[in-house]
Symmetry: C2
Subunit: 227 residues, 2 copies
């Protein structure tokens, strides 16, 4: 199909498609004339993936480029694909404190999870925990070093309901990866399962919060319930 | 304390603090001289909250302004605070399809969750589901109308492990809100519990994924495990 048809099929405008081609997110079509190329189902699929990473996943163009680069490179290991996808989701999460890092260690120990020391989610979680401690009125840096392990274990205990819920979910997610499928199928499943499911889980949690919050207060107003 | 001391205490630079003052994120200090103001513990706390929303939560400045505005306004109901916090987290999530919306309805029905029709997380989840269906090779719009309910129920069944996990978590979160506390304590807990815990949960899920993925493949390489 021509680029205009590719635009109609995917709902992505022609200028945007041309920009994706220029920055290498989308592979070029097969040249059929001096200024014309032919695009196929693989381009349609790739465009959907690009839009999903950018619009749904909220990734920056640079992060989407990194993720697509490891998907495309058959020499990159599955572990590395996971790391890059995790890194794309990990925010520049402010500064963690030694307490935050200790709380993450205590949570991992409590769950007997084995995670590399440079896993992007470690620093991210440590930063979130540090910010929450600071908001509760204690600057993490002000906690005496000898008390840190004890406070870290208490924080890990508070985190445990989240860790328990994610333990079961992540285990099922990993078990459901199609081990015998071709690499490109597996890596795309990993990336979608990481980036899109992150947003999915957040949205599901907010729906559950709304339900329980309204239930706690006597249910939603009838007008909101009408179809 | 003076603005320079506020900067040292919080680790936020003086120009950044001045900018927050100018755009109204941070209330002005008490004027002590023509070009000087006095800041107290409330300013330190507010700065931590601003940084947490922007850096950890990844909110835009405009969304942080909306969230802080409903925190500050005692006439805004708790429901509305929740909605604004949820809205700040909901991405501009591309376009949902009728199938995506039907899948969300089916999930809510399956869980017996009652959620307002304009809850921001509905459109967000519908868009995520639509994108995932498209990536699996079926354009949601191409599914015949009479088949949509059946496909939607099947999608809701796939979502159910996530919904089940979030059901317990959200129920506990709502139950643990300090009902007798002053409004400002409750609203801040709600906002932190929505925005920061969203990132927390994502990071915990990625740690669990890394653990189970590596466990599935015989554990992390020893070098990664060394302290």
């Amino acid at each position: 199909m021509r680029i205009s048809e590719l635009a109609t099929t995917t709902g992505v405008s022609t200028p945007t498609i041309k920009w994706y081609l220029r920055i290498g997110l989308l592979p070029r079509g097969e040249a059929t004339a001096r200024n014309q190329a032919d695009y196929g189902p693989a381009h349609v699929h790739r465009l959907r993936l690009i839009r999903a990473l950018l619009e749904i996943g909220g990734l920056s163009v640079a992060d989407a480029q990194s993720v697509l680069a490891v998907i495309d490179d058959p020499t990159v290991s599955l572990e590395q694909v996971m790391r890059v996808a995790h890194g794309a989701l990990a925010h520049e999460a402010g500064s963690a404190s030694p307490l935050g890092a200790a709380a993450v260690d205590a949570m991992l120990e409590r769950r007997d999870w084995h995670v590399a020391h440079d896993a992007p989610a470690r620093a991210e979680l440590a930063a979130v925990v540090s910010a929450m401690v600071a908001l509760e009125g204690t600057e993490p840096a002000a906690i005496p070093t000898d008390v840190v392990p004890e406070v870290a274990r208490a924080l890990a205990a508070e985190l445990d309901p989240y860790a328990a819920a994610m333990d079961g979910i992540a285990r099922d997610e990993v078990a459901s990866l199609p081990a015998d499928a071709p690499r490109d199928v597996i890596v795309e499943r990993m990336v979608v399962g990481t980036v899109l499911v992150d947003r999915l889980l957040g949205a599901v949690r907010r729906l559950a919060q709304e339900h329980w919050f309204l239930a706690d207060r006597g249910g939603p107003p009838p007008a909101d319930e009408a179809p």
